[in-house]
Symmetry: C2
Subunit: 412 residues, 2 copies
Amino acid sequence: MSAAVLCIGTEITRGEIVNTNATWLCDTLTSIGFEVTEVASIDDDRPRIIDTLLRLSRDHEVIACTGGLGPTTDDLTTEAVGLAAGLPLVRDPPTVAAIQDRFRRLGRALVASNLKQADFPSGSTILTNAVGTAPGFGLRIGKSIAFFFPGVPMELKRIWQDHVDQVLREMAPRCTYQLRLRTFGQPESTVGQMLDGVEQAHPGVIIGYRASFPEIEIKILARGVDLADAKSRSEAAAIVVRERLGAIVHSEGTQTLVGAVAAALRATGGTLALAESCTGGLVAHMLTSEPASDYLLGAMVTYSNEIKTALLGVPAETLQTQGAVSREVAIAMAQGALRATSATHSIAITGIAGPTGGTAEKPVGLVHWAVAHPGGVQARDRVFVGDRGRIQRMAAFASLDLLRRIALGSDQ
Amino acid sequence: MSAAVLCIGTEITRGEIVNTNATWLCDTLTSIGFEVTEVASIDDDRPRIIDTLLRLSRDHEVIACTGGLGPTTDDLTTEAVGLAAGLPLVRDPPTVAAIQDRFRRLGRALVASNLKQADFPSGSTILTNAVGTAPGFGLRIGKSIAFFFPGVPMELKRIWQDHVDQVLREMAPRCTYQLRLRTFGQPESTVGQMLDGVEQAHPGVIIGYRASFPEIEIKILARGVDLADAKSRSEAAAIVVRERLGAIVHSEGTQTLVGAVAAALRATGGTLALAESCTGGLVAHMLTSEPASDYLLGAMVTYSNEIKTALLGVPAETLQTQGAVSREVAIAMAQGALRATSATHSIAITGIAGPTGGTAEKPVGLVHWAVAHPGGVQARDRVFVGDRGRIQRMAAFASLDLLRRIALGSDQ
């Protein structure tokens, strides 16, 4: 079953926004079991919308379209769909009432153009919008069933969940199943080599890779004669994948590395403190993107030597003899973070994120990190390659992964 | 002059990656003066690549295409281009030598499929790749001039700069000019209202908005009879735009809010310390995304009350009587950060980022922030709406913007 995604809006073709709606629709349609073969993004141009809709409707069973349902003169989608399908637009009284009600509640004045959003091609199924003004709609065009959504990501997702997800799941060939594993520590090419031959040994299984730097997600998609068959094929392949990848798999499903670290600490009632230099608060920011106040006590970003001594008690002598970017300073920072906060675990990171500040002996990219824990302290170092952002990100992930392994008692 | 962008790869149509190459190409082509009217993303399918290329070459003067130039059997772009243009593939000896040399330097073994990347449709202009294995190429297809790039963003951008940018600038109608202003503090709809009528009063000028939450970038694009005319139209409109928007404009061109803060501090030799609670290190992370060690002394992420007292000297009594999320605690944190680091300026933030922890009196989203400076301390508060990430981001930007205004002596 073939599907296409159509995104309408000059803000996309002018490069003013990143088209995350397209990615979300492609990912969702693929996971349900459709094969998405084209994503078309076009500007707000009536003839082009009509041509593109007619073209896509010749080749695809499903079209998911976003954008152009707003109240302004730029918003042409509904009108163009009517012309493409040869259907007149009809005003829908319940939608008119809902728009009037919404404006009353918000205390805003209704203008005539707002009621444009209550017009739909005759015979459409109206998809009510619980979180915005513009409803979506669905109708048949040529061999396709086409769904039209507002471009606001939150509204698209809500309408999809409320009205479309179940319909498409029933339409889709119910014979695919997908498992996801998340890894850190090896590049995509190495992970690919580690899984060499798994597809060949498991008919119907496709191994997919999704790199979200520096993590690699492994998708194990199986097609079978029915859902149960697909599931068992996917699970059988997953056993081999887990065994081959070993400890680089930090999570399954949608859990992140941060989630894995938090779960490992929570399981034993551990608490955490951070002492960051070159990562400048990135580890703290990553951890606090999800609720963290039950295990994260505090973090210190200590850029200057004086602050490393004042806040973390790093001996001035160590800083002088070993340099701020050294194994000894990383260990002293980790121990200082424990003393300052009474946490059970700490992470310390010191390095040269660049673009300047490197020397022949200590090049840009050199990072030392340490994890202090009830059983002692472990330190690691590496020269990371890339720009400032990549070096900071690699260092943050590497130190979180070391903590994860230590907290799980699996560090080698 | 019409342009199209074509992105080839099943990783896009399956929704495995966000297509930032398309956004970058659209933005770049638009800023040069082309009108991009379609972005097509298709899977790795030979007939579909050929059909799409031929279709786009009928309607556009320029096609920019990424993806499918790799060494694997999935990479079909070059072969499909040859078939679409009716040209045989020819192996290019200098490219063969460059690939062999690259592999020798990296100490990797060359396999036969790597040499596929030295094949090009006969008559192509080869676009050497200074940062990767696969060169790009350019050739004429129908009425279009088409350029083909690898999908790796860094390689695309480098080849563009090295070979394509100048060619297209010379091709483009040289009668457009664009200025950019960046704002923080008002939503897009309000900024739009503030600029109501500017386009009408300035013929040839288009005001564009690009929201990168929570900032709004204003693009003032002018078309004229020639470049000088376009530039003077754009600049005349910019004078009115700056006057209407006032202090919410923090930067011009590509400078970020962080850049504006850093510039304001550097201008007076100021230094900075941070005391973050609910933003959890986000401000530190934002500041250290660019080199900051010359003005940023350190940051403390103090989640628990005990750590606020231990690291920042916030009186336990203040925490008890006012609560951790209060104006008094924000001010005490800001003053404590100055004491702990001897910085000239500090930012402190305390709030409830959610999703839980709110009360009737102090709801989720309530944030207090303070900036301490040589002339005293200023505090602000607000209830931000949205999920945890949005609340943290709004609080970080609001506190940086307050510091910017204070450091510039323009705070009202």
